[in-house]
């Protein structure tokens, strides 16, 4: 039987995908810190190739790139979290995510992979306000310490709202 202890995550997070006993999180590094998104939203980790920057684009929209014939938008979550830029080069890794109708790629300083925690390890984020807390869905207690889980849907909606004219 799998342990529900916060300190004992399942050894293979891939096994936990789809399991009701555990929540799989995909960990990435932003702003020098570890963040996560729900793993079921991550479809693929890729290398981006050349980025075509768009005119009149907000800072969080880094551009578009061609991934096996599909043109995808590339977002920098660090810009939304703290108005800071993630270093980007051709060949940087990105995670392709699908949140509702939105399919896009996220850039990060590093992609660390999956961790799995029991649902009881997920806590409500701190009170929201401007800054990263605004975009947190949970804080997951892991054996490596608290892990901020991003609310991807909220990030996308906020990005859209900030882009509206006027």
């Amino acid at each position: 039987m799998r342990s529900q202890s916060l300190q004992r995550e399942v050894p293979d997070p891939w096994e936990a995908l789809g399991s009701p006993d555990h929540v799989s999180l995909f960990v990435l590094r932003l702003l020098g810190e570890r963040y996560a998104v729900e793993a079921n939203l991550v479809q693929e980790v890729i290398r981006t190739g050349p980025i075509t920057r768009l005119p009149a684009a907000p800072a969080f929209l880094l551009g578009v790139f061609n991934h096996r014939g599909e043109v995808l938008a590339l977002m920098d979550p660090a810009q939304l979290l703290a108005e800071e830029s993630t270093p980007l080069a051709s060949g940087s890794r990105a995670a392709i995510v699908q949140s509702g109708e939105w399919r896009l790629a996220l850039v990060a300083e590093a992609m660390e992979g999956l961790v799995s925690v029991p649902p009881s390890a997920l806590e409500a984020p701190p009170a929201t306000g401007p800054g990263p807390a605004e975009f947190l869905k949970y804080v997951a207690q892991t054996r490596d310490g608290p892990l901020a889980v991003l609310d991807l849907a909220r990030m996308i909606e906020t990005a859209r709202a900030r882009s509206l004219p006027g």
Binding site: P55, A56, F60, L61, V71, W102, P165
Partner: protein
Amino acid sequence: MTEREILLFSLDGRRHAVDANSVRRIASSREPGAEWIAASVLGRSRVPRRGLVVEVDGQERTLAVDGVEGIERIPAENVCPLPPFARATIRTAGICGIVVRGDELLFLVDLQQLIRESSKESWLYAQDE
């Protein structure tokens, strides 16, 4: 295989594409008295040698460009809409799609929208020589 005709032009150091059917004609910068749009979200024409003439709201308008490379026929599937997240967050309606041309991604420009967005201050009034 369905094909589309695109007109390739250069502006501010980049190559762009426009649906060839949307351009009425290509004007020379030496036409006197013409009112040209020199700057837009695509940048400012460095050397306005040519103008792309389109009809906007019943009037002819001309976007100054640095050069016209010609018309190409490309497979229709090489023209993609902007990715939804880009379309939802970009602050212009002047780019309506992406043209995949080998390794190159070009903006498919909606000239009418681009010109509507350009302010009067960006217009260039050609001087008679």
